[in-house]
């Protein structure tokens, strides 16, 4: 890692400590289990014709932020757990793990979804965009920059989901999709009023209640006049 002076720092991050700790715990655990060899061994590939065996790992390729990732996954692995635990991309957060909070929101082929409520194996070959894929190098995505500028967060845990959701929401708006609060369904492109933004973002909960600033950030990034 790099410190403020641009020097390489030996400091250890919280994530490294947690990661190392769980790897040690996992290794201790696995050695005691009779099926450890099976879990690590070669298993038949999953294909369209036949079903996998219950304990078999499936070959899954996810195109994450433009890069293919070839994974061997238990079919039970959610897209969220695949991203966090198997690709080590922890920007996408696990909140409720039941599709109620929106912290795990990612873009699937450009559409926002809850990554906790879908299986990674269902998305073989498909394109996933996570919070890590929004910036262009060091240049923040306009939505990220707007969240920073408007202080659209406090603790930050819901933020990656909020930002991915907001990016997906603007696309839906550009496609002319209506919402529950759209007065006139015949209008091809409903105006993104505050009420529209709030309704369209209602799948993302913020425990710190940064909602006014989140709305302001989205309005700016969406080019909506305040």
């Amino acid at each position: 890692m790099t410190d403020e002076d641009g020097q390489t720092s030996p400091a250890v991050t919280r994530r490294q400590v947690l990661g190392t700790g769980s790897a040690v715990a996992g290794a201790l655990l696995i050695t005691g289990l009779p099926f450890a060899a099976n879990a690590a061994g070669t298993v038949p590939a999953n294909d369209a014709a036949g079903a996998s065996e219950p304990d078999a790992l499936a070959d899954v390729t996810l195109i994450i932020n433009g890069h293919p990732h070839q994974l061997k996954l238990d079919p039970r692995t959610t897209l969220l757990d695949a991203l966090r635990e198997h690709v080590a991309m922890t920007g996408t957060k696990k909140g409720c793990d039941h599709g109620q909070c929106g912290a795990c929101t990612v873009l699937l082929e450009g559409r926002r979804i809850n990554s906790c409520l879908t299986l990674a194996v269902m998305h073989d070959g498909q394109a996933i965009t996570t919070i890590e894929g929004l910036a262009n190098g060091e240049a923040l995505h306009p939505m990220q920059a707007a969240f920073v500028e408007h202080d659209g967060f406090q603790c930050g845990y819901c933020t990656s989901g909020q930002i991915c959701s907001a990016v997906g929401m603007l696309r839906e708006s550009q496609l002319g999709m209506p919402s529950y609060v759209t007065d006139d369904l015949s209008v091809a492109h409903p105006t993104l009023t505050d009420a529209e933004i709030r309704e369209r973002m209602s799948g993302n909960i913020c425990r710190c209640a940064a909602y006014p600033n989140i709305v302001a950030a989205i309005k700016q990034a969406g080019g909506v006049r305040a």
Binding site: E53, A58, R112, I113, L117, S165, G168, M169, Y180, N204
Partner: protein, 326 residues
Amino acid sequence: MKAFTYQRASSLVQAAATSAQPNTRIIAGGTNLLDLMKLEVETPAHLVDINRLDLDRIEDTADGGLRIGAMVRNSDLAADTRVRERYPVLSRALLAGASAQLRNKATTGGNLLQRTRCSYFYDVSKPCNKRVPGSGCAALAGFNRMLSVLGGSDQCIATNPSDMAVAMRALDADVETIDGSGKSRVIPIANFHRLPGTTPQRDTNLKAGELITAVTLPPSPPGRQIYRKIRDRASYAFALVSVAAVVDVVGGRIRSARIACGGLAPKPWRVGQAEATLNGSPANAHSFDAAATALLDGARGYGSNDFKIPLARRSLSAVLSDIARV
């Protein structure tokens, strides 16, 4: 979550045939099924994924209706210009349900098959006749604020949570299915969902191995369409009461009325007598009240859901008044 085998369906008939096998579930959007699997309310041993089958088109039918593929996502159906123009009650109902992320995943067929959100159905430590037949119903004398005041039995008072199905009930939709031998069937939506009776574990009249392929809407009925949902939050909550109404008022008199309610019963609730009361009557408070009396005939509360009966009466009156005013 219990371990399961996963396979991607190669064809409709193959998917239907495979789903007839014991302990096998079709997975479409997965937004309800995976939630239930995580809690081990659902414990399938085999999953058949139908996401890559060609079932995601919305097509005009020869008679001026619309045929909606089973895999059309809720968000796409709500946004379809034909649905917005001809069936706004359906667009409104869809947009009233869940969140944008869930609607991007949830499908037309899956929405019809979603399970109740009764908290005792979800809590595997509690008795529930729908989850474990014969185990009892903790809701009857428990926390039943969200549950049925119509159509329940002494074994189950779960509500159907769908908004979409309520609008489709008012629109007289047909559900098209296929089975493992390739045979098709059309089920009028009125006969699709079941009342619990003594078999609350069965939500619908689908047979084992029968797969939904499409929902067909007849031509748009005359009149104004409204979907009104009353819930505990302004957004992203299940209905306490909802009303889907398609009512034609000419010169202060009701020419035809179709009314279905959500949040009240184990299936979208529509009563012919309530509509017969309205047809030909003046569009006034007296007529609306008579319709509500017919619609709520036999309603009973179970304690914390008693409020739903007067709430449904007032909601229906409010919706009909709004339609009559224009």
